[in-house]
Each structure stands twice: as structure tokens, then as C-alpha cells.
Amino acid sequence: MTESNLQIPAPAFDGDIFADDVLADPYDAYATLRDLGPVVWLAAHDTFAVTRYREARTVLGSPELFCSGQGVALNDPCNQQTAGRSLIATDGEWHGHLRKILAHNITPRAIRHLEDQIKTQADALITGLVARRSFDAVEDLARALPLSIVPDLVGWPADGRDHLLQWASAIFNFLGPLNDRALASVPDVVAMQAFAAEMAAGGRLMPGSVGAGVVDAAAHGQLPPDQVAALIVGYLAPSLDTTISAMGSAMWLAATHQEQWELLRARPELIPNAFNEVVRLESPIRIFSRVTTGPTDLGGVPLAEGTRVAVLYGCANRDPRQFPDPDAFAIDRGNAGEHLGFGHGVHSCAGQGLARMETHALLEAMTKTVARIELAGPAVRAANNLINGWDRLPVTVLPGR
């Protein structure tokens, strides 16, 4: 420990929460972090982690004091590149302005017309999978629906779709600490940005799409042309990976908690709450950071102006101070909806309406036709710096009405 570290006013944690084995099962490490304190110095990453619910909610709910405009990633190159450009890395009125440009196309109100189509697609997908009995719940289910909806919604051309998941995964690795995963992501991050810039400039996004709406906004002087690509990538990548993560986790939890699946089948009106519980227990986004705009105190830890603090969503969402028996999966949990898995406040996930619509449709289709979901082989978690997701989930389903 260096001399400057000795002056850090918070308990320190020496482990690497981005090591492969911790990414695969971070919850023991999270419990250790919460026990150390609400704000813990991550010595391996030179940053403070916010570990408990109350303090995490305070940070996310106080954007004037914990700002996003200096980037929300865990490494300087990513923060320098995204600060002030990507929606998640802006503050105040400018953020509100950008969010409106994007959000008026993707709020639950704006996408209500998609609901019937999404339900039809979900029903067809599940009918096909139930007929197969055995499938990979990641490749064949969790990825299939978002990939059939999001690229069309954004207006992404067909020739740019083959690499989308690889690119999105790279974007999320690049947001983490500057480890091997982040470094290895750079070529794909550059490739996706180059492709997006070409789309933004060349008018190749499909007319009437969310992406074309952003291009139009730039044409009308509502945002600088060089921000178009960042705004579109900032919607496209999360709309895929986070939803895929949550749907994969929903299937894994259903397969490993049969009594909860039976409860959901008996009470399908619990589907929205069950989805909140999935996002609480297996929060898709691991971590985003903020920077203090002035001296403050967080959970008894004095923080100087300009201090970067990182919110550990999955850690706060299992805080026993907020959620009794926090490691239990309970789809009828009374306060599941208070989770921070979509963030909270002005930067709360802009695409959560679509994520809910897709996952509710899939779960509704499944509760009607699947009596039981069983693991049919080893479930493999994906090792990504920012996304808590799955590579493989082989399952067998037992049909039943």
C-alpha cells in the first residue's frame, strides 16, 4: 500500500472484482465489500466502490453532485472518448436534450405500437422452441428476440448485423478497468464506431427508425453531426446485451428454482414483478462510475471534489438492509421493483420499456406452454467487464398447459 493510499478515508479491498472467477460468481466478493462499508476503496482499480443500496441510490439520484459528464467508465481513455458525447456521459440540460431526442422514439408510450408485433414474435419463437424440446436458452431464446427487433427499430442495415453482438460485447468490455479484456476490445469498438459513423453520414439508416430520427435531429441543428454515431451506438449496444443478459438469467433462475416457475405459471400477473426480481438478483450491468462535483460525504466517507466513485449495481441490489434474504429468488418479493438494476433517476436506462416489453412477452408465452425448464448441460457465464450475462444455457423444456 502506498503512502497516499494510507490516507484514503474508506476501508480498502485488495481483490480484483474483474478476475474471471469473480465475474463468474461475484456475490461472495460483493458480500465482503458490503460488510467492509458502504464506500470501499478498490485498490486494484484506484477507485471507490459504492456497495450498499442507500448510498448507491443517493449517488444515482444526485446527478448535480455525482456527475456523469467526465465519463462513467472505469478507465481514462474510454472516459476521454465518451465524455460529453455519449448519452450516459453527459449532464444537466444537455443530457436532458439528448435524452429527449432519443427517448421520444423509445419511451413506453412511443413503442406501444410494437407490443402486438413483439407478442406475436415471442409466441412464434417459443412455439418453435417448445417443439424442439432442447435448445440453448442464450443463443436460441435470449438473443433471438432482441436481435429480431432492436436492429429494425434502430434502422440498422442488414449488412451491419453479423458483427452486432461481438461489437456490443466489446463496447461493454471497453467501459471496464483497463485490463486485458478492455484492451482486446479496442479493434471491435473502433469497427463499430466506424460503421455507425458511416451509417450516420450516409443516410443508410432505415427511414422512420430511431436511428434515422437522430440523424434528422442533427440535420435540424439539434445536436452536432459528430455526436450522431455515439448516440445511436449508445442505444443499440445496451438494447441487445442487457436484455439478452436479463432473459438468460430469467431462464437460468427458472431452471434452478422450479417452485418459482410453478408460482409464475399459477399467477402470470406476477410476470412484471418477476422480471424486476430477475434484474435485482442478476443485475445485467455490473458497474458505472460518477465524479463528485464538490466535496461531500457518502456513507460517512469524506470525498474530495473530482473523486470518481463506482456504483456496483448487483452488490447494492443484494443489500440485506434493503432486501430481506437478498440472495433468495422470490418472484413475489414485495419491493423487488425498488431495485437499481436499470439505474435510478435522470440516467435511468432509456430502453427499459422495450426490455420489459420483450421479456414480459417471452415469459407470458412460456408460462402458457412450458410446465418445466431443466438445465441440460453446464451453464456457462460470459466473462465481460460490464455485463453479467451468459454464453451458454443448454435447457430442456417439458411442455404443458
Binding site: T107, P108, R112, G337, H344, A350, Q352
Partner: protein, 65 residues
């Protein structure tokens, strides 16, 4: 107790409607509206839970004397 909706912030995620359907609803245009003003004493707990659940922090509680 009264509930104030910041319509500039509200994006219609509907978490309040799910948490306290007796207090919140969507109108025909999909805008979130408060059905009880002031909130009935029996619905106050549900209304508070709904305010906590708003993803975009668009709801505020105004306590009355």
C-alpha cells in the same frame, strides 16, 4: 398527502401504476395521471412505494399540514 408528477421527466414506465393502481393510471394519451388528490389515507403506503419505484424519479410527495 399529495403526489406531484413531473411530466417533463415521466416517460411512462408504468411502475407506479403497477405498485398502486388505485392511485396512478395512464390516461387515453398514455400520460401518467394521479387518481386520488389528495391520496386516500388507506393508499398512502402503496403510493409511497410507487414513488420509490419510479425509475426516472418523476414523482414527488407533498405532505400536508
Amino acid at each position: 398527502m399529495r403526489i406531484i408528477i413531473d411530466q417533463e421527466r415521466c416517460e411512462g414506465h408504468g411502475q407506479c401504476v403497477a405498485a398502486a393502481p388505485e392511485v396512478f393510471a395512464f390516461d387515453d394519451d398514455g400520460l401518467t395521471v394521479v387518481l386520488q388528490d389528495p391520496v386516500d389515507a388507506t393508499a398512502e403506503d402503496a403510493a409511497r412505494a410507487a414513488v420509490r419505484r419510479c425509475p426516472v424519479a418523476a414523482l414527488q410527495i407533498e405532505e400536508q399540514g
